[in-house]
């Protein structure tokens, strides 16, 4: 009789997770003087896809060992996303900010993030595929480019046992592993996001946030102003049984709910 011992040898990993603070995706956005009126935003949250990136990072280090550095770029209020990450067990927290940084363009943002990633010593960078406010989707690939790192985007599943990533492909989905340095951007994964608990919240109170800045050069993109989306057209009203075929047709072909 013999006992077969099999285990997957995983290396300890250092992961930097990029977290962006955005207005609560359910919050009403007001424009004041050609700008989003931040003072009218009642609640700020971590951008949802970034939460999936953080969850994957937590699962990754649970399986492999290592540590996570949570990095955000934002004003004072953005400390909240770091504290929330701390409540889930992240111990290294970095916020990047500088004077007059309200209108950085994406290159500048990536410069600053790359500096912080380098300083953290991380070999893997996890982030959301796009932020819920600007939806540009440029951060992950941009950071990868500047780091000279591999980049896998729109990952929908992280497999902790084999450190592999699943992403949509023309065949349905593809599973990849990647050698570091690498940047992975996440969409909504199958994973349930973990909830903080009181113990974590108490720990987060003690967590230190490192405030850093960078030389990001000047912006190449001029910001000309925000505007609200066009008003929704008024709803259509149908009366009488005669219009049933038309309504069914519209529901099927236009609204695509049937």
């Amino acid at each position: 009789m013999f006992i077969e011992v099999s285990f997957v040898a995983l290396n300890m990993v250092e992961i930097a997770v990029l977290l962006k603070q955005v207005p609560d995706t359910n919050a009403k956005i007001a424009i004041l003087g050609g700008r989003v009126d931040e003072s009218a935003v009642t609640s700020w949250v971590t951008s949802p896809y970034d939460e999936y990136a953080l969850e994957a990072a937590l699962q990754h280090i649970e399986a492999a060992g290592g540590s996570i550095t949570a990095i955000t770029l934002g004003p004072d209020r953005a400390d909240k996303v770091l504290k929330d990450a701390a409540a889930l067990g992240v111990t290294k927290l970095v916020r990047i900010w500088g004077d007059g940084w309200e209108d950085l363009d994406s290159n500048q943002v990536q410069f600053a993030l790359v500096d912080a990633v380098r300083a953290s010593g991380a070999e893997l960078v996890y982030c959301g595929k796009q932020s819920a406010d600007r939806n540009q989707g440029s951060t992950g690939p941009g950071v990868a480019e500047m780091l000279g790192a591999a980049c896998v985007v729109e990952v929908s599943e992280f497999d902790a046992s084999s450190s592999s990533y699943v992403r949509p492909a023309s065949s349905g989905s593809e599973k990849v592993t990647v050698s570091s340095p690498a940047v992975i951007t996440f969409s909504k994964t199958e994973s349930d996001l973990r909830r903080p608990n009181v113990r974590g919240i108490m720990m987060s109170k003690k967590a230190q946030i490192d405030l850093v800045s960078s030389d990001v050069g000047s912006s190449q993109v001029n910001f000309n102003g925000d505007s609200s989306p066009a008003e929704k057209p008024p709803g259509k009203t149908f009366q009488g049984s005669d219009c049933i075929p038309e309504v069914v047709g519209l529901l099927r072909d236009e609204a695509k709910v049937l």
Binding site: D24, K83, N197, V198, I201, M202, S204
Partner: protein, 403 residues
């Protein structure tokens, strides 16, 4: 860990904007806000989608026990022995957020924390604390609190349940009624007379001569388990008496804490009803315009806003007093009585404003309304709190004609 739904993917109907007219929550600490958001998100994701089923089936879903333990909110203001060690304000906020979901859920947490863990924490022996508290904080052990009897409700001092010292053990005889969590609990804190003096005992499920049959047929707090506790020559070891307290002070100390939590909890139910009434009256068209545009409706909404705001200020001020120790029981009576009273009135008013829809379980209001009827009665009825305040003002007790 339990799952949470991501905000981006929440349906519109799940958006809950808590009414906080005076921005009372801005006085909370960062930690208290994080605890609030944790519980609020959990209620959105796990409680609201399931509460109506739980009520129809008359069950307290066991997964809620597990989640409360995982979140670490049970016995919130107690510290040491694996307990959370939060402020009383945080405990209040937790009660408010839970009761926004359902009063039955908050009742579970109140009983576990304030009525079962607290007496062990304050009056128990070192061994009792070590044995029970860590597992109660994690939700692995559930407790209940047996004070009320069929013939002694507002007047618990007259209780009949008695304990006898039999040398190496105690024998309990009697019955308790209306006991929250009774049937699902692993241990009961039972108040009984030993040589005529009220003492607290820990009775474990499985102790000889102890049973806890469930009471059925409630129209209120349907998602909360309510039971009788029956002691027929129930034999318990000597080390199960709570050594640290004698007389009514024991149960009343527990009730002070639970009542404090209720003063916050009721606001959660009231906020949920206000939220529903506001949304409904803005969207319901009668006589060609939203009913919210009529003065009568606006008068009602304004009254709700006014009472909830006053209640919030009252609860927060009381919470600060609990934290700095400057409270007296009468402060708690005032807050419990007032906030439950206005919550019930708001629920009834909201029910009316929803018209026929108001009786459907699609809306939370009738459930809150029915629940709050219990909340008005338990933990000292509305009028008993009036009498407590009356005695405080005049120095004359009016509970009984004797003496």
């Amino acid at each position: 860990m339990s799952q949470t739904s991501c905000r981006l993917f929440k349906g519109e109907d799940m958006v809950y904007e808590a009414l906080d007219f005076y921005d009372v929550d801005s006085q909370l600490s960062e930690e208290e806000i994080m605890v609030r958001d944790m519980v609020r998100d959990w209620v959105d994701a796990e409680v609201l989608p399931k509460i109506e089923h739980a009520c129809r089936d008359g069950v307290f879903p066991d997964e809620w026990r597990v989640a409360l333990g995982e979140m670490g909110v049970l016995g919130a203001p107690l510290d040491g022995y694996g307990c959370p060690g939060l402020s009383y304000v945080a405990y209040g906020v937790i009660c408010r957020e839970l009761e926004r979901g359902d009063s039955g859920l908050r009742s579970f947490a109140s009983v576990q924390g304030s009525l079962a863990m607290y007496p062990i924490w304050d009056f128990g022996s070192e061994e009792q604390k070590n044995k029970y508290l860590p597992k109660m904080a994690s939700g692995d052990l559930i407790g209940c609190f047996g004070l009320t009897e069929p013939d002694y409700g507002s007047n618990p001092g007259g209780m009949i349940t008695k304990a006898e010292d039999k040398g190496d053990h105690y024998i309990l005889n009697g019955a308790k009624m209306w006991i929250t969590n009774g049937t699902i609990s692993d241990l009961a804190i039972v108040w009984a007379k030993l040589d005529g003096v009220i003492r607290g005992f820990i009775v474990e499920t499985g102790d000889e001569g102890y049973s806890a049959p469930e009471m059925k047929g409630k129209h209120s707090l349907k998602a909360s388990v309510t039971s009788e506790l029956v002691f027929q020559d129930c034999k318990i070891p000597k080390d199960r008496i709570l050594p640290g307290v004698k007389g009514l002070k024991g149960p009343f100390s527990c009730l002070n804490n639970a009542r404090y939590g209720i003063s916050w909890g009721a606001l959660g139910a009231a906020q949920a009803c206000f939220h529903s009434a506001k949304e409904y009256t803005l969207s319901r068209i009668q006589f060609d315009v939203p009913i919210a545009s009529y003065q009568l409706i606006q008068n009602k909404l304004a009254w709700m806003l006014r009472e909830i705001t006053k209640g919030q200020l009252l609860a927060l001020e009381l919470g600060k007093k609990k934290d700095d120790g400057s409270w007296i029981p009468e402060h708690i009576s005032l807050a419990k009585m007032n906030n439950v009273d206005i919550a019930l009135e708001i629920a009834r008013m909201a029910r009316d404003m929803h018209g026929a829809n108001g009786i459907l379980d699609e809306y939370c209001i009738m459930r809150h309304m029915a629940n709050l009827e219990s909340v008005k009665t338990y933990e000292g009825t509305h009028d008993i709190h009036n009498l407590i305040l009356g005695r405080h003002i005049t120095g004359i007790q009016s509970f009984t004609r004797s003496e």
